[in-house]
């Protein structure tokens, strides 16, 4: 029996040797290849927490996200000094995932980007602690704070985006209700889980970035696109050309009658009104008629020139697609021309409408990250300005701009309450929208406003959408005006 036992011993020895060899291979040679395999959260986690994460600062030097040493097993604690106001910009950085700029610039912030490799070697030689890169965003802290405060004061869900029309830099990007990203930066797993669950259940979905992701009907603000299409297609038309402006417009092949807000007459009630008057008073019958004359394809082409129907827009945070759907019938085309068919836009798109008009018809690509600097203050990356599209010719832009000025400056304009006389000489141009929704328009109206200022030399374009806000002029426009004034104050002019 001992001979057999000896052989069994050898078999056992071989079994253990196989185990030892396999374990050596697994832990000695394979870690590198396993680190890049799908779902390896440990490797992700290790890379994420290797260095002190870089800060996120605004263009005027306000720190909105930073890391400080922490006592636990994870060496640094992320914190957000201004919390909810900047949450749509910063996003959050949990132990396991990121959103917002934290996600978009993660490799640079965490210090793992290959562009930092040379500096890491230098750090190693000089004995300096390697840190992640600092990301400077284009946000202006005054404009951002004004946007968030105004939204919070109104207390209704909505989003605001402010752009520099000349460059495309995003000056403000606010969403309400918001959340404090610090809640998701906690290191304790159970606490993180609870906070996450609470935020997901919270009323108004605070984690939703309305500035970039909320898509609602543009309402009358789409008349910017409709009139731009008209002026582009028919060069003989000017803003003073009389256009059909009936009090009631019976839509073809239907019994549906399109009327203006509260059945009001348009212009002097003659059935004809200058284009600028119809625009300033936001006559639905006029633009329904124009939309039917132009046709869905022409409106679609112009909408796309303003950046709609683009599924790939990133700033670098992804922006939800704003849609124009070519309607199947003339009647629906009339509705689409006044932004009431199935067209939907984001607050970002609303800002882009005004920005294109303000910048002589050239729509600059919106961007959020100004530049990224390594811990030695050298610039790693900066965002070049680029043209997203030539929306309209400069002369058409000027015409539409004049009409937008009339909306705010004419006594009969829908946003006349914010005229230069009321705003201390500040000339704002804009277009209100009050999008009806719900079955048979039974839901609360969404308030929309697109604007730019100052009219003579535009330096800011603002888009606002308030869910269930009511009239654009009463709910959305005041917020835009506050953002505009806060920003212009930083430039040194009223």
């Amino acid at each position: 029996m001992n001979r057999a036992l000896r052989r069994i011993s050898i078999a056992v020895l071989v079994m253990f040797l196989l185990l030892l060899i396999n374990v050596n291979y697994l832990q000695g040679f394979e870690p590198a290849s396993l680190a890049s395999k799908p779902g390896n959260s440990r490797a992700f986690y290790a890379a994420q927490n290797q260095y002190e994460r870089g800060s996120i600062v605004t263009s005027d030097g306000v720190t909105i996200a930073a890391s400080k040493p922490s006592s636990g097993s994870i060496k640094y604690q992320r914190y957000y000094p201004l919390g909810p106001a900047y949450a749509p910009v910063t996003g959050y950085d949990t132990l396991y995932s990121q959103t917002g700029v934290e996600a978009a610039e993660n490799s640079l912030l965490s210090g793992n980007d290959s562009s930092l490799d040379v500096r890491k070697v230098i750090d190693l030689i000089t004995g300096k602690t390697t840190k992640g890169a600092t990301v400077e965003v284009t946000i202006n802290s005054k404009a951002q704070q004004a946007a968030y405060s105004a939204l919070a004061a109104l207390g209704k869900p909505g989003g605001v985006v402010a752009l520099n029309p000349k460059t495309g830099a995003i000056l403000a990007m606010a969403s309400y209700p918001s959340y404090d990203p610090a809640l998701l930066a906690v290191h304790d797993g159970t606490q993180l889980n609870n906070n996450d669950a609470a935020l997901l259940k919270a009323p108004g979905n605070p984690l939703f970035n309305r500035a970039l992701q909320l898509t609602l009907a543009p309402g009358s603000t789409f008349k910017v696109v409709t009139s731009a299409a008209l002026l582009t297609q028919s060069p003989s038309t000017t803003i003073n050309t009389n256009v059909d402006s009936p009090t009631q417009l019976t839509l073809p092949q239907t019994t549906h009658v399109l009327t203006n807000n509260n059945g009001e007459v348009c212009g002097n009630g003659s059935g004809q009104a200058p284009l600028i008057t119809a625009f300033a008073q936001s006559c639905d019958t006029t633009f329904g008629r124009i939309g039917m004359d132009l046709g869905g394809s022409a409106l679609n082409a112009m909408a796309e020139k303003f950046g709609m129907n683009n599924p790939n827009l990133t700033v670098p945070l992804p922006v939800a697609q704003s849609n124009y759907v070519i309607p199947a019938s003339l009647a629906l085309t009339a509705f689409s021309a006044i932004g009431q068919y199935s067209d939907t836009v984001t607050p970002m798109q609303e800002a882009m409408f005004a920005a294109a008009i303000a910048n002589n018809g050239t729509l600059m690509k919106p961007y959020l990250v100004q530049q990224v600097t390594a811990s030695d203050l050298s610039t790693v990356q900066s965002t070049p300005q680029s043209v997203l599209s030539q929306s309209v010719t400069p002369s058409v832009a000027q015409d539409v701009g004049q009409m937008m000025r009339a909306v705010v400056q004419d006594p009969d304009g829908t946003a006349a309450g914010f005229s230069a006389a009321n705003e201390g000489g500040l000339v704002i141009a804009g277009k209100t929208g009050t999008a009806q929704n719900g079955v048979n328009n039974s839901g609360l109206n969404d308030a929309v406003f697109t604007s730019f200022a100052p009219y003579a030399n535009p330096s800011i374009a603002v888009g606002v959408i308030i869910q269930g806000g009511g009239y654009g002029a009463t709910a959305a426009a005041p917020i835009a005006v506050q953002v505009i004034k806060a920003y212009l104050a930083t430039l040194g002019n009223p």
Partner: protein
């Protein structure tokens, strides 16, 4: 060290004519001190790593462990003074590390995986006490291994009943993770197969000792291999069928492999016929292959093994295996340190994949040490088998040692993707009572056998002519 120091009543200081056998209980005590110290350090390590201070329950958890280990040592002195001095310390060390890992996994979890319940460590300490209690009981009750031979068929019946029980019971009280292997009584669960393994090992040994001469008879010779006679194939066919039934009705591939391997290895030790080994191996592989084609649960295991990173596998079926591998990879050569890794990401890391948690936190170095501890226990067992004189004890020692080795091979090989992963427990390390208690009973049997093997022969008869009373 001389035998005079050993306080054993069965050993009298012998006269100068008889060589002195050394009991080596002091060696055992020294080694036990190392095992306890290592466990205590590991415990403290977890606390310092997670909270920067000694773990809150260190005294409550360590005290019963130390007391039980000392009781086990005293029982060895009393009941098995000549037993191998390494068996107890090695088992105690593995058990201690298992308790520490349970504590560590109960102390920390993450978003997806909640930590083990806060009472998990206490329960594991209670199981440890129970296990060592059973260890002492086996030593005290079975004073002579050959006694077990009397119960060959009784134990065989008990073993088969224990294996069959979960399959016969409704799934509501016997199914866990797709395999029917447990009996649930309220919150308390028993895995009867853990005990069945021991009963069947004893039963096989008894049966094979009785029939070995017949089984060793050669039949036809094919390709240089002496095939057994067809009429002697009965036992292996029964074992094969039983292990396949286990596989089919309880979906428990790992245990089925361990049973079959145990039987074939013991058959080989009993008869020294390579043909039995080949036959058993071929039959098991053929059966497992057929089962993998016929039963989805078994086939899936092979797919996970061969293609863990393909398609949906990493996030679905192979999630557990893949996360275990990631954990071990993140541990690398020296590990993250106890409390420093994220073993809780891996599902069921406290039971089937506990070895991956050790790999992650203690690294390749720690894992190899653990494997060598197992290897050492198996080696002591096989050495006992060589030394012991009577065939039944030989067979039992060889069988038990091989079974332990096979179990370690199946689970560690499975976790490290050497072979398909099957859910069996890791002796001493896995959280859970049945496996721990059964493992301690196995160590008790090996200790008993090694005591028999190393015990000095009775003193030569001096007074000729008088009747001797021989106690067995």
């Amino acid at each position: 060290m001389s035998s005079i120091t050993a306080p054993s009543p069965t050993v009298d200081p012998t006269g100068p004519l008889v060589p002195v056998a050394r009991s080596r209980r002091r060696t055992e005590l020294t080694m036990l001190a190392f095992a306890v110290a290592l466990t205590a350090f590991a415990f403290a390590n977890v606390g310092f790593s997670l909270n920067g201070k000694l773990p809150s329950g260190i005294v409550e958890y360590m005290a019963p462990y130390v007391v039980m280990v000392v009781i086990a040592h005293l029982a060895m002195r009393r009941f098995a003074p000549f037993a191998d001095p390494l068996l107890l310390p090695l088992a105690a060390l593995l058990n201690g590390l298992g308790v520490v890992m349970t504590y560590r996994l109960a102390a920390q979890g993450n978003l997806l995986t909640a930590p083990l319940s806060s009472s998990a460590t206490e329960i594991q300490v209670v199981y440890t006490a129970l296990g060592i209690g059973c260890f002492v009981a086996v030593l005290a009750l079975i004073r002579e291994p050959r006694v077990l031979q009397r119960y060959t068929y009784t134990l065989g019946a008990i073993g088969i009943l224990l294996v069959a029980l979960p399959a016969l019971l409704p799934a509501s009280i016997s199914e866990v993770a797709g395999a029917k292997i447990q009996i649930r009584l309220g919150t308390f669960t028993i895995q009867p197969e853990e005990f069945a393994k021991l009963a069947l090992a004893v039963s096989f040994a008894g049966y094979l000792v009785a029939k070995r001469d017949v089984l060793a008879l050669a039949g036809r010779r094919v390709l240089g291999i002496d095939l057994p006679r067809a009429r002697d194939l009965g036992p292996i066919l029964v074992a094969w069928a039983a292990s396949l039934l286990l596989l089919v009705f309880e979906s428990d591939v790992g245990t089925s492999a361990v049973f079959m391997g145990l039987f074939v290895a013991m058959l080989y030790i009993a008869t020294s016929r390579t043909s039995w080994l080949l036959l058993g191996f071929v039959m098991f592989v053929a059966g497992a292959f057929a089962a993998s084609k016929l039963f989805a649960h078994v086939g899936e295991r092979f797919d996970i093994w061969l293609h863990p990173f393909v398609g949906q596998n990493p996030s679905n079926n192979a999630y557990q295996l893949v996360q275990g591998l990631y954990g071990m990879a993140s541990g690398g050569l020296l590990g993250k340190g106890l409390g420093g890794g994220q073993p809780y990401i891996t599902p069921l890391v406290q039971s089937d994949l506990v070895i991956s948690a050790f790999g992650e936190e203690l690294g390749l170095a720690g894992l190899m040490a653990i494997l060598l501890i197992y290897g050492l226990i198996v080696q002591r067992g096989l050495r006992t088998a060589m030394l012991v004189k009577d065939p039944f004890s030989k067979l039992l020692a060889g069988g038990l040692s091989f079974m332990l080795a096979l179990q370690v091979f199946v689970i560690v090989g499975g976790v490290t993707r050497l072979i398909p992963l099957t859910g069996i427990t890791t002796p001493f390390l896995s959280q859970g009572g049945s496996s721990l208690v059964a493992s301690w009973m196995l160590i008790a049997l090996l200790a008993r056998l090694s005591d028999t093997a190393r015990r000095p022969p009775p003193r030569p008869i001096q007074d000729e002519g008088l009747t001797q009373v021989v106690t067995l």
